[in-house]
Symmetry: C2
Subunit: 146 residues, 2 copies
Amino acid sequence: MEHLEDATLLHQQGHRLTPQRLQVLQVVTSDARHLTAEEIHAAIVPEQPYVDIATVYRVLQWLQTIGLVAPISIGDGLRRYEYRRRGDHHHHLVCQECCQEIAIPDDVFEELKSKLQNHYGFTVQIEHLAIPGRCATCSSAAASAS
Amino acid sequence: MEHLEDATLLHQQGHRLTPQRLQVLQVVTSDARHLTAEEIHAAIVPEQPYVDIATVYRVLQWLQTIGLVAPISIGDGLRRYEYRRRGDHHHHLVCQECCQEIAIPDDVFEELKSKLQNHYGFTVQIEHLAIPGRCATCSSAAASAS
DNA sequence: CTTCGTGCAAAAGCTTTGCAATGCG
DNA sequence: CGCATTGCAAAGCTTTTGCACGAAG
């Protein structure tokens, strides 16, 4: 129901709300995974078959300019989109085996950030980072298999 | 001259060496930045105008299967390629301002890795990570400007 | 000489854009 | 009712593929 709060806010801000926009917002906020434009479209079609993928792209662009959605890369070469709860910086551990995504808070990186700041004078600016690897389940499965 | 060592090795391993393959290898090993297929092609054309971009893609695929090159993402949505010196795991700090890339060794992440392992049972597998931010030069420039 | 790689051209994704019609506010 | 948004279709990009020729070993 998160998209309804957003919708109310957007409406107050004078944005035009169409069924298509609400639908995309609904999919993006409710699906835990990071979807591609095509996957978002596929999720909408059963509900509203007439929605075109061009519209999905346009709505996604609109959501990006508003800052509600951001394109991310989890290393599979596909452009995926992530819903950005206001001020919620978080990151993901992406299991290469089962494609599960584990959300982790930003503060896990504090140590790394200050290290890079001190050693290289480099100020890290990450709103999102996808770290590939193997989740606990798949790790133990591999261990017992060998 | 790094590509010549690789070439010798590849030759011994029974790979066919063509001017095109050597040229791509040369560009990828000598350019410090991470290039796209198009940029690699553009770098080759002045030398050998007849080389087709389809060949560049094919050579890049070949280099990937051999493990000498890997596709990476630095967050600009473009597919870029990185030369992989054997066993050399390294990462990059990418300045969002000047696009400079600073190479950093893998061990900077050891702390983070063990933290994720302990907290989430997640085994990090990164051969390459691009961390966006601001380099020292651009940081101080911004500071003095404000 | 045989086989594999290349150039060329066409095809195959994915994303964007032009335009007339529709519907939100 | 006016203007932004949509559907449809076509265009743009990047990447891949088919095929006959040419070059490597």
